[in-house]
Each structure stands twice: as C-alpha cells, then as structure tokens.
Symmetry: C2
C-alpha cells in the first residue's frame, strides 16, 4: 500500500473539492495502519446512459482508489432512478419503469467495464433497502431535513426563482442518495461538483445514524468539444466511450487548444509534470498534444494498437491530404449522368455525402469538399464534374469512391 502522502497526491489530482480534506487524511492514516481498505462509494441512476468521457471523470477517480487498494462500491440507483434526479437540471425528469431501469443497469455495467474493474467492485442496487421501507420509514427519513435546507440547493433555488415547478418527490432524491451512504457505510463518496449538496446530505444522515461521516470528493465538470458547455449527449459535444477509435480520435483533434490541460488532467493518467510539458506551446505544438491526447483516449477504450492506427489514419487523411486505404465505394448509375457529368451538389447526394441538395451546397460553400486524385477544392456547388469509376470525393472527414454502374 502507498503512503498517505502518496495516496493524497494522486487523489487530489484534478478534483474540485475534498470536504473535509483533514478527515480523508485521517481515514487514510487509519487504513494504512490497519491495512483495512476504505469504502469508496459512487452511485449512478440507470436512466439509460450512453457513457461519454464526461461520465468517466469520477469513474476514473474510482479506479484510482481501486488501484490504491480500496474497496469500490458502486450503487446502481434502481430505486432512485424511478424518482429522477433533478441535480443540475432545470426541469422534472420523466420516470422510468423498473424493467427499463434494470436493462439500463446491465448495459451501464458493460459500458463502464473499460473504466473500472467491475470484478473487484461491490455492485449494489438501492432497491434492496428502499423497497423494504414503509411510509413511516420515509417519514423518519424526511424528518431529518428541512424544506429550507433543501431549497438551498443551487438548481432548486434557480427553479424557484424562474418559477419552474419542482415536484415534491424530487426532494426525496438527496435523502435517498444520503441513505445509500448509511446503508453501505461509505468512507468516501465521489461525484460531480453539482452533487456536493447530495453528498453532504449523506454526511448528515450518517452522523444521525451514529456512523463516521463520509468525505465528499467532487470532480469538475468536463467541458465538451465546443470548449464552453459541459459535455452532454443533448448538446452533441461529446465523445462516447463506445464510439469507434477513428471517431474518438477525430473528435479529440477538434477541441480548442485551451481544453488540453483539463482533458489531459481528467482523462489521462499522465503526471502533472508531463501535462505541463504537453500544454506548453513553446515545448509542444497543440496539434501534437492533441494527437497524444487522442491516442491516450483511444488506448483506454480500444487498446494501444488501435490508438496507433487511429493516429496514423487521421494523419493520412488530414495532415497529408491522402485518402484513407479503405474508402467506401458507392454506385452511381450512368443513366443519371448528363453527358457523363453531374453538378457537384448532385454528386455529393448521389454518393451519400449529403442528405439533400441544399445540405450539399452548404458543404461546398463551407470549403470542405475536394475531388479527384489531387483533391482539388470545389468552390461552386454547380460546377460540373466528369464522373468515372474510381473518382475520389471527400466532404469533411468522409470519403467516397465512385463505381459507375
């Protein structure tokens, strides 16, 4: 087991808050002295998550605790999912059926198996205790917090101010999450920074139950590809852990330079000194830094070999303007041509590089369309192109080869 100082150094990396830090040090000291691992809680509601890099931030911290010899306890909130956690959201979420929730839970475990060691994780479902609770038990639970305290939560405050309804059942959520900590005797709970309130409720309930309260370790919110908003599915600014290597690599290459430091810190295992070198313009060109970052990320989800190939493919396509080796061939009917030619926008549609003529025109006007062995840029959507078998056409990152039929 590593020393307390070594453990703290690794735990501190990239976290937002440790509340209270002194208690974590004491817990680690006791753990080192007795050889007894700490119980590290992380909970999610299986509401149908496409796990993306944003989700991996606290999960990677959980894996770190596993590597340090501690016991990861993953709470599948199959009961809380039936409520819908309002944290960080501005409206009441739809409720799911128990069957949907269970299917989601299984799917979620599969997705995160690339981030944490699921085999060594204690996986528990909070329906195990909540389904046994009576109305009276719920009352005892709700008696432990005041309405005023509940409304101090940032998102609730905002919803009150904006007049957005808060369903009363949403107030049960933080209490349920807190009760989970009591049930599993958590030493530490991990979560995004917007979870701090819920995590603190856990401390309170543990104290009321005569337990030593957990330490709350919160992670910052990962910025999405746009470099501004949090990574999220609805914002379409995410990299999914299940996406192909080329997609993960290509999307990573598109992030603003300013994101490099956050992404390296939260998404790779590189030490702070390395990150410093990689994000210093004088020492590493941003393009090279992004390639390293992209390789790091692909390596996590597809392995080292795939990372090398993803980088090579990307460089072939974009850095040197060459077509990749495995371009998709699409049939074009000779009868659709006019004197062996087609206007560029029609060709793009025929090759499924654009869903409509209008979209095709926009692609050309955006400067992303090149044609032929020399990949000459086309600037007029109506420009007539001589269509022959083997003609290479590129729109953005997509390539097609014509097969005349």
């Amino acid at each position: 087991m590593k020393s307390v100082a070594e453990q703290m150094e690794l735990i501190r990396r990239g976290v937002e808050q440790i509340v209270p830090e002194a208690e974590l040090v004491r817990k680690l000291e006791r753990s080192v002295a007795t050889g007894k691992p700490l119980r590290i809680k992380y909970g999610i509601d299986p509401t149908g998550i496409d796990v993306h890099l944003g989700h991996t931030v606290p999960l990677r911290k959980l894996r770190l605790f596993q590597e340090l010899g501690h016991q990861a306890v993953l709470i599948l909130g199959n009961y809380t999912a039936l409520v819908g956690d309002p944290s960080g959201r501005d409206q009441t979420r739809a409720r799911l059926t128990q069957e949907q929730v269970e299917a989601n839970a299984i799917d979620y475990l599969k997705q995160i198996s690339k981030v944490i060691d699921v085999e060594k994780t204690e996986v528990v479902r909070n329906g195990d205790w909540f389904s046994c609770m009576s109305f009276l038990d719920v009352m005892r639970l709700t008696a432990q917090i005041t309405v005023q305290r509940m409304l101090e939560r940032d998102d609730f405050t905002k919803r009150i101010q904006s007049g957005t309804p808060i369903s009363l059942h949403e107030c049960l959520y933080p209490l349920m999450q807190g009760q989970d900590s009591v049930e599993i005797c958590a030493d530490v709970e991990l979560g995004g920074t917007e979870q701090l309130f819920n995590l603190m409720v856990g401390r309170r309930l543990q104290e009321a139950a005569g337990q030593e309260p957990q330490v709350c370790v919160t992670s910052p919110i990962l910025c999405g590809l746009d470099g501004v908003r949090r990574m999220g599915k609805s914002l379409n600014n995410y990299v999914g852990v299940g996406e192909p290597a080329s997609e993960q690599f290509g999307k990573t290459m598109s992030i603003p330079d300013l994101l490099l430091c956050q992404w390296f810190t939260l998404l790779s295992d590189r030490a702070p000194e390395e990150v410093e070198v990689l994000t210093d313009l004088q020492r590493t060109p941003p393009m090279e830094a992004k390639k390293r970052l992209g390789s790091d990320i692909v390596a996590c989800y597809h392995g080292a070999e795939a990372a090398v190939k993803a980088r090579a493919d990307w460089e072939k396509q974009f850095s040197r303007g060459e077509a990749p080796t495995d371009v998709e061939e699409v049939e074009v009917l000779a009868s659709s041509l006019n004197g062996g030619q087609l206007p560029t926008f029609k060709l793009l549609v025929a090759l499924k590089l654009a869903p409509s003529g209008n979209e095709a025109r926009r692609l050309v006007q955006g400067g992303g369309v090149t044609i032929g062995e020399e990949q000459a840029k086309v600037s007029d959507p109506n420009q007539a192109i001589a269509v022959v078998t083997g003609l290479l056409v590129r729109a953005g990152r997509k390539w097609r080869k014509v097969r005349l039929a």
Copy 2:
C-alpha cells in the same frame, strides 16, 4: 329527506366557505334524486385531544349531515398523527408512538360521542392504507404536487419568512390527508378554515385518481373565552366538553357580549331568527342571552335537567350572592388555630382555595374573597378570622365550608 334548498340552508349556517358551492348543490340534487346519501369526511389526528367547544364546530356540522341522512366518515389519522400536522402552527410538532396514538383514538371517540352519532358513523383509521404503501407509492403521491404549491400554504409561507424550520416530512401531511379522501371516496370534507389548503389537495388527488372531487366545507375558528384568540387548551380560554356542568355554565357566563352571536351560531341549534332576537340588546339583556347560551351548551353535554340546575346554581351564587346547596366541607385541625383564629390567607390555603399563601394573598387583594353567613368581603390577607364548623368561605366561584376537627 329534506329538499336540496332546505339542506343547503342548514349547511350554510355558520360555515366559512363552501368550495365550490355549485358542486355541493349538484351532489345534493343527485342524492335526493337517487336516495343515495353523500359521504361526509371529517378527519382528526389522535394526538391527545381534550375536546373543547372549538373542536365541536366542524363536528356539529358533521352531525347536521347525519341528521340530513348522509353518511359520516370519521378518519382517525393514526398514521398521520405519527407525522404531526403543522397546520396553523408555527413549529414542528413532536411525534407520537403508535400505542399512544391508539389510546388517544379510543379516548377521542368517547369524548365526541356526545356530539355526533358514533354508532352511525363509519370510523376508519388511515393506517389501514398508509401502512401498506411502499417508498415507490410515496413517491407517486409526492409527484402529484410541487414544492412551490406546498409553500403557498399560509403557515408554511410564514415559517419561511420568519426562518422557522419546516421539516420536509411535514410536507407529506397534506398529501396524506388528500389521499384519505381518495381512499374513502369523499363527497364532502369538513374542516376548520385553516384546513382549506389540505382539503383542496384532496380534490386534486381525487381528480388525478379519476374520482369526482370532494366539496370543501370550512368552519370559522371559534373565539375563546377572552373574545380575541382562538379557543385552545394552551391559551386556557376554553370550555371542555368533559367539564362539569357548573364549569361550562360559569365559563360561558364570562364571555364578552360580542361573542354571543358567534357562539349561538356555531354551538347551538337555534335558528338565525332566534339568534337575532337573543343578540339584540333591545330585546334580550346580554346576561339573559348568556344564560340561555350556557344552558344550551350544558344541555348538549349533560342533558336538559343539568342545564336547568346549572343555571339555578349560578343564579343563586352570583345573581343573589347565596351559597350553592352542595358546598364542599373541608376539615381544619383545631390544633392549627391560634386562639381559635387564623389569618385569612392561611385559612384559604387550609380550605384548598389557594395552592399557596402568596396565591391566597393575591385572591384577597383581587377582591374575590368573602366570608361568613353575610359573605363580608375581606380586604386584608392578614385579617384574623374566627374559625368554626359551618363557616362559609368563598374565593371567586369556589365555595368551602369548615368542619373543625
């Protein structure tokens, strides 16, 4: 069965609000047409109530509905009592055990048997349904109202403004009360005016459950003996239904004249025209009106004969200054006398007319102590009194006769 118009005339008497009145008319019309009685709900939490005249106001309305041929449904909130209703209170109430609650329920039924016909009443305990509810059921219930709506309740608003904590479990109360209406399919719910919010929640839950919503009939709050504040045990301005006839009569005689109209309307069966005559100074002296009111009240709880006796006794004591016929004799030890005498304040203590010498002095100074056949007023607490068997002593409305031993 009386006509709808006749029923409405009686129901309207002395009520604060009927929400919505048109719906009550429709329900009564259907009831008259089909001969099917309406289900009239009244609920109380058996939290240890000494039933006083204030409590009888909605209960008397329930009895009226019984007399009109409708079905009274009394909810004993044995489950809600475990929460504690915050209505009209400014702080969180202590919770009771289930055993205390059941003992209270039995005691309550006994007390109110003088007001409603308990035999013809459907008496139900809401623990019958709430004890079967799961956490999920509670969530479904709480999902039916928003925090914002809950905080519109007057007393909650005040507590938020004054910074007095509202325990989250108190928010469950209105929902439980509303669910009671769903469970028993209430047509009408009775309650004090401060209950309107809770009653309206019942309408909402019934509609959500596909039921015809109940009509809310609220009663005004009865003023206590002081004529200013609501009647309540803690304010010591109440008349208990279990008190002796003489106490009920005497206390009624002490109310301010201005209360006569409210008390006649809410506590007697007299028709509005009679009440008008009785509260018109030109036609009825207030003293006579109060005697009638006192007799009406005593008749409710002790019968007509007791009412006649209570009035006669009171007149003998106060109107003509005579001692009542059945004065309690108290032994005074001859050995405690000093030359056959005692200072007045010591005599009052010896006769249990005052708990302490200081209290006895205050009684004398207040001018309420008279002694002997002639009932001479004593003005000096230290005045020496010759103590003999048969000596009559009065302090306020209490009389004692000495038996020397």
